[in-house]
């Protein structure tokens, strides 16, 4: 229990950031909620239409459902690349004796490059005419039949726009997980090895349970970042061809700033907020249940 004076100090120091948070996060969310009950194109009078936007979104908008499905696939690809890739690299790093710093720096490098640069870089990598790096590599290794216009093909574009986002943050999560892994007490691992535990058992029974709190945090971070993914897909394909790489975020943005349907765009944005909260709740629930069992 903190003494009274300390409580006051905490309150004084917490209040300004809390107010800032309310103004920058909570107020816009409430504002979007308010706008979602209106029909408004920005210059006309706002017309109250109740739940009409929600009914339209859930029952009569094929692009919304397509974007939602795309967003889930995009999220899945990002999570596999970011968390899976990060865990593998971090685990390998712990057993490396030399060159750790260099490898950490190289993996982290994409996280500090501007998303615009990454988007343009990958547009060139995926290009078919002129031949980009990916198609050239496929040609060199004798897989020429797989050469294609990755960003124009409706079957490959979603994976193609997800990969740069996954690649970009693998290094960041790798660093977090690596820091957690090296904090696992050596005596625990040594005791398990003496008891005859294999590397796999060591990982699943000792290391992973030990880093579970960090894993939960990184999973929540990666999931919410993935659900909010916008800039790289928008810059690379603008949701196309057709709606093949349209995400809820790009759809919301276009609805607001291209279609000037601010009311409906707010409805989609409210859905994104609910979706993020639901995802975080689900992650906590699943991981807690697993920990309890």
């Amino acid at each position: 229990m903190l003494p009274n004076r300390s409580k006051t100090s905490v309150l004084v120091f917490l209040l300004p950031p809390l107010l800032l948070y309310c103004a920058a996060v909570l107020f816009p969310i409430l504002q979007s909620l308010f706008l979602s009950f209106f029909s408004w194109n920005g210059i006309s009078d706002m017309e109250f239409i109740g739940f009409e936007n929600y009914v339209r979104m859930l029952t009569a908008d094929d692009i919304f459902w397509r974007s939602f499905a795309n967003a889930l696939i995009y999220l899945a690809i990002c999570l596999v690349l970011q968390l899976g890739g990060a865990l593998v690299v971090a685990s390998l790093l712990t057993s490396l004796r030399r060159g750790r710093e260099l490898i950490k720096t190289l993996y982290l490098l994409p996280a500090v490059i501007s998303t615009v640069a990454i988007a343009f870089l990958f547009v060139r990598i995926y290009s078919i005419d002129p031949v980009g790096l990916l198609n050239q590599l496929l040609h060199w290794v004798g897989l020429g039949t797989f050469e294609r216009a990755w960003l124009s093909d409706v079957n490959t574009v979603l994976a193609a726009v997800s990969a740069p986002e996954g690649w970009r943050f693998t290094g960041l999560y790798m660093l977090i997980i690596y820091a957690a892994l090296i904090a696992v007490p050596k005596e625990l691992e040594e005791a398990a090895v003496l008891d005859g535990a294999s590397q796999w058992t060591l990982f699943t029974k000792i290391r992973f349970p030990y880093i579970r709190p960090v894993w939960i945090t990184t999973t929540i971070m990666a999931t919410t970042y993935g659900l909010r993914g916008f800039d790289i897909p928008y810059l690379m394909t603008s949701g196309g061809p057709g709606q093949s790489s349209e995400l809820l975020t790009t759809y919301m943005y276009k609805t607001a700033f291209t279609s000037t349907d601010f009311g409906y765009a707010s409805t989609v944005s409210v859905f994104i907020v609910i979706e993020c909260l639901a995802a975080v709740g689900l992650i906590l629930f699943m991981l807690k249940r697993k920990a309890d069992s």
């Binding site: 816009p28 504002q31 308010f34 706008l35 408004w40 194109n41 920005g42 210059i43 006309s44 706002m46 547009v123 995926y126 290009s127 078919i128 005419d129 216009a149 960003l151 124009s152 409706v154 690379m236 394909t237 603008s238 949701g239 196309g240 061809p241 057709g242 709606q243 276009k254 700033f257 291209t258 279609s259 000037t260 349907d261 601010f262």
Partner: protein, 445 residues
């Protein structure tokens, strides 16, 4: 409360622009083009979507400087966003915040028409008449800026003609000639592909270039009025004229007319493909004359390049000398901030602009000046300029300025799918007719 929310809803996005664009108050009557009172010099802003080092901006900078010599304290703040989609978003955000600057660029879109109906734009027809310059403008340049009801709220600063540029050597290699009809193009593409040549280079990323093609058949088949009916739901893609263009677009796709992966390729990619001799054709306007008809062009391609105007069709209702001839994005004058200073500056600038613009080698929107052909131009340059002397009275309007924004966005998306063969003409037709049915009433009725 509503007003508070309304203002706050756009405040974040508009914040940066507001500082640059906030103007002084003035007349708010769109028809009052000659406001009375003293000219009080101040800084005014022009929110525009034109190349930062382009002729329009350079000339207006110079003219503003000249005007400021006699009016100390005057300055013209040019805020440019050449990327059109980004610009439109900026414009719409500022319009929503009711913070448009003194001058702003816009096409004759349904959104702009709503602004005009709300009295937010000065009547440009009356303004030009009051300045005594209305009759000097090319009728086509003004018509391009008009809304459907004939009203004029934007002032043109350019006049362009859109051609299909082609490489003579590549056509010869494939054993094909310039198409006599639009319907000849798919077969022409097939022959070019067989000869290992990309038929048409196109900027797929920006979407408007492909949307040009969908306008061609209806313009020949049913004239410029068709898009005006279609956008309101009074005509459909399911009708014969609509079906003609849908089937034609699908045929262009089947014949692989556009370069592989075109939907992810940009403006410079397309231009490079044509100027480097990889693609046989390229549909672009006279704004590219300095790249296509001067000694800047790759010498290997220079002598092989020519152009043809939009081919007609059997039974076409429009003539060969009628095609896309836009006068570029127009400049609107904010009625809220229109005052004696803005009026006086426009009078000064618009009187001097045409001569300065024509001197750069571009076609002026007015007929009272002669375009100077640059010293490094090829004969093609003058041939392109001369085409402007023989234009018919009808012009094909780009559909991206005509349709409501949601329908336009969906059309651009579905067109790519249709041309790539991902959807059938029937799917395209039903999707687009349904989209227009849902969205047109909000904008046009």
């Amino acid at each position: 409360m509503r007003r508070l929310f309304r203002a706050a809803a756009v405040a974040a996005a508009a914040a940066l622009a507001l500082t640059a664009c906030a103007g002084a108050g003035g007349s708010s009557d769109p028809a009052n083009v000659s406001p009375a009172g003293e000219i009080k010099p101040r800084e005014i802003s022009w929110l525009l979507s034109r190349p930062a080092d382009g002729a329009v901006i350079n000339i207006m900078k110079k003219l503003a400087g000249d005007y400021a010599k006699d009016h100390p304290g005057f300055a013209l703040n040019l805020i440019t966003t050449p990327d059109r989609p980004s610009y439109i978003q900026k414009l719409e955000t500022l319009a929503a915040a009711n913070k448009l600057p003194e001058l702003f660029d816009t096409d004759a879109t349904p959104f702009a028409q709503q602004l005009a109906k709300q009295g937010k734009m000065v009547d440009a027809g009356k303004l030009l008449k009051s300045l005594g310059t209305y009759d000097t403008y090319r009728p086509g340049a003004l018509d391009y800026q008009r809304f459907d009801d004939g009203s004029l709220y934007m002032i043109p600063f350019q006049f362009e003609l859109e051609f299909i540029w082609y490489n003579k050597a590549l056509l010869e290699k494939a054993g094909v000639t310039v198409p006599k009809s639009l319907d000849d193009i798919p077969a022409m593409c097939t022959a070019l592909r067989k000869a290992g040549i990309t038929p048409i280079a196109i900027d797929g990323q920006d979407q408007w270039p492909l949307e040009r093609y969908v306008a061609y058949q209806p313009f020949r088949e049913a004239g410029p009025e068709l898009v005006q009916k279609l956008k309101k739901g009074d005509a459909k893609f399911a009708d014969p004229a609509g079906q003609k263009t849908v089937q034609w677009m699908a045929e262009l796709g089947k014949a692989k007319c556009f370069q592989d992966g075109f939907s992810a390729q940009g403006y410079s990619d397309a231009q490079n493909q044509f100027t480097s001799g990889q693609a046989a054709m390229y549909n672009i306007g006279t704004w590219e004359l300095p790249s296509l008809a001067t000694d800047k062009l790759n010498p290997a391609a220079r002598d092989n390049i020519d152009f043809f105007t939009l081919p007609t069709t059997h039974g076409a209702v429009t003539s060969a000398n009628e095609f896309v001839s836009p006068s570029g994005i127009g400049m609107a004058v904010n009625a809220k901030t229109y005052d004696p200073l803005v009026s006086d500056f426009l009078k000064f600038a618009l009187a001097k602009y045409p001569a300065e613009y024509a001197a750069t080698g571009a076609l002026s929107p007015t007929t009272n000046v002669q375009t100077a052909v640059p010293a490094n131009a090829t004969p093609l340059y003058k041939k392109a300029l001369d085409t402007a002397n023989d234009l018919g009275s009808k012009q094909a309007m780009p559909w991206d300025t005509q349709l409501d924004p949601t329908t336009n966005g969906r059309l651009q998306q579905e067109l790519v799918l249709l041309v790539q063969g991902n959807i059938t003409p029937e799917q395209f037709t039903s999707t687009m007719d349904e989209t227009i049915k849902q969205n047109a009433p909000k904008f046009f009725k």
